[in-house]
Symmetry: C2
Subunit: 220 residues, 2 copies
DNA sequence: GTCTATAATGAGATAGAC
DNA sequence: GTCTATCTCATTATAGAC
C-alpha cells in the first residue's frame, strides 16, 4: 500500500515517534523559512518552534540546505497530483477553455491555502521565496516546472502556433498573481481601506483575461 | 537648487568623496540585498563589493536595517516622480483609458530596469523582497503606497462605484506580474525553451485585460 | 571621513552518552 | 532516536588612532 520511495535498503521502518518528530521539524521549518527566508530562519529557531533539540534538526534534516529542500518537496508532490487530477477530471467531462484550465491550476492551491491549515498557507509564502530567488532554480525545475509545463501544453492546444515564450510568460505572470493573492493580503488591505478582499474567481478572471489579451492582441 | 531634506543643522555639506563612498556602499547593498535578501547579504560582503572597510558601512549606513531602508528609499522617490509625471503628461493630452494608466505605471519602471543600468534592474529584485515580506510593510507603506493609491484613484474614476478592494487587488496583481516580468526571466526561459521573451506590451496587455475582467465580469 | 582592530553575539555543525 | 555539550566560524557592531 505504501508507495514511498525506497532509495536504500533500511533495517527497519522509522518509528512512529521518529516520523512525528520529523513532521514537527518540517512544520516549524516551513513556517520560519516562509516568514523569514532561508538565511533569516536559524536552525535554533526551528528547533525551538518544533520543541526539539538543535541536534535533532540536523539529524532529520541533514543540514540546513537539505532541510529547505525537504520542506519545499514535502507538499510539492501532493500539490502537483491534485492539480493534474483536477485537470483530468474536468477534461473527462468535455473540452476545456482557457479559464477552465487556469481554474484547475489555481483553485486547488488557493483552496488548500485558505482551508487546508496553516501549513498550506505558509507553503505559499515559501514558494514565493523559491520563485523569486534564482538560487533555488533547481528546486523550481524539479518540483514546479513539470506541472507548469503540463498546463502550458494544455493551453497551447487551444492556441496552436502561439509563441511558446508568450504562453510561458502568461503562466509566470499568473503564478505571481496567485502568490500575491495568497501572500499580499496585507498590501491589498493597505491600499483599500475597509473593502472586502478579492475572491478567487476574480483572480482567475484576471489571469485568464490577461493571457487571452497577450495571445490575441486587439487588431489595429 | 538643492531640494535635499535637511533634517538637522549641519556644520557643512558632505564632501565629494564622502558622497561617492556612500553611493558605492548603497550600490553594493542594493545588489546584494536584491540577490540574497536582508539576512542573506552580510555587511562584510557589502563592504567588500563596495571596496571599503566594514566600519564605513556602519558609519554611512547606520546599522544594517537602516542601510536596507536607505537602499530602498534611494530610488523610490525618483521612481514615484517619474511615474506621476508620465501620468500627468499623458493626461494633459486627453482622457486616458485603463491601459494608458497602467502603461504610465509599468513602463517607466521596466524601461529603467532594462536600460537604466544594473542598479535599476537590481532594484526590481529588491522591491520584490519588500513586497513579499510583511516585515517591510512600513517601507512599502511609506515609499510605494502613495503612488499606488494615486494610480488606483485614477482607475477608480473610470469605473465609478467599483469595490475599492477589487481595484487594489488588481493593482497588487499587476505589480506582482511586473516584478515577475523583470525578475523571473530565468523561469520563463525554463518553461519555454528557445522562444523570445515576452515584451513589455504583452505585460501591460495582461494587466489591463486582467483588471477589466475583474471589474466587469462576463454577464451570466 | 577613513582605517585597523576587536568585542560580543549568534550561527551551523558535530561528538558522544543514553 | 534523542539529548547535552561543545567546536568552529561568521556575523554585527563599536572603539579609537589617524
Amino acid at each position: 500500500m505504501t508507495q514511498k520511495n525506497i532509495e536504500k535498503p533500511r533495517q527497519r521502518a522509522p518509528s512512529q515517534r521518529s516520523l512525528q518528530t520529523k513532521a514537527k521539524i518540517l512544520d516549524a521549518a516551513e513556517c520560519l523559512f516562509a516568514d523569514r527566508g532561508f538565511e533569516g530562519a536559524s536552525i535554533r529557531d526551528i528547533a525551538a518552534r518544533a520543541g526539539v533539540q538543535v541536534g535533532l534538526v540536523h539529524h532529520h534534516g541533514g543540514g540546513k540546505e537539505e532541510l529547505f529542500y525537504q520542506t519545499v518537496a514535502r507538499r510539492a508532490g501532493e500539490l502537483a497530483r491534485i492539480r493534474v487530477e483536477t485537470l483530468e477530471a474536468l477534461q473527462a467531462s468535455g473540452p476545456l477553455n482557457l479559464r477552465d484550465i487556469l481554474d484547475c491550476f489555481i483553485r486547488p492551491y488557493v483552496t488548500l491555502a485558505l482551508s487546508g491549515g496553516d501549513g498550506w498557507m505558509a507553503y505559499g509564502r515559501l514558494v514565493a521565496h523559491v520563485s523569486v530567488d534564482p538560487r533555488w532554480r533547481d528546486i523550481a525545475a524539479e518540483y514546479f516546472d513539470p506541472t507548469a509545463q503540463r498546463f502550458i501544453a494544455e493551453i497551447a492546444k487551444l492556441y496552436p502556433g502561439t509563441d511558446p515564450a508568450l504562453l510561458a510568460s502568461g503562466q509566470v505572470y499568473s503564478v505571481s498573481a496567485m502568490l500575491a493573492h495568497l501572500n499580499s493580503a496585507w498590501r491589498v488591505e493597505a491600499l483599500s481601506k475597509g473593502g472586502d478582499l478579492a475572491q478567487i474567481d476574480s483572480l482567475i478572471a484576471f489571469c485568464a483575461a490577461g493571457i487571452e489579451a497577450m495571445i490575441s492582441p486587439p487588431q489595429g
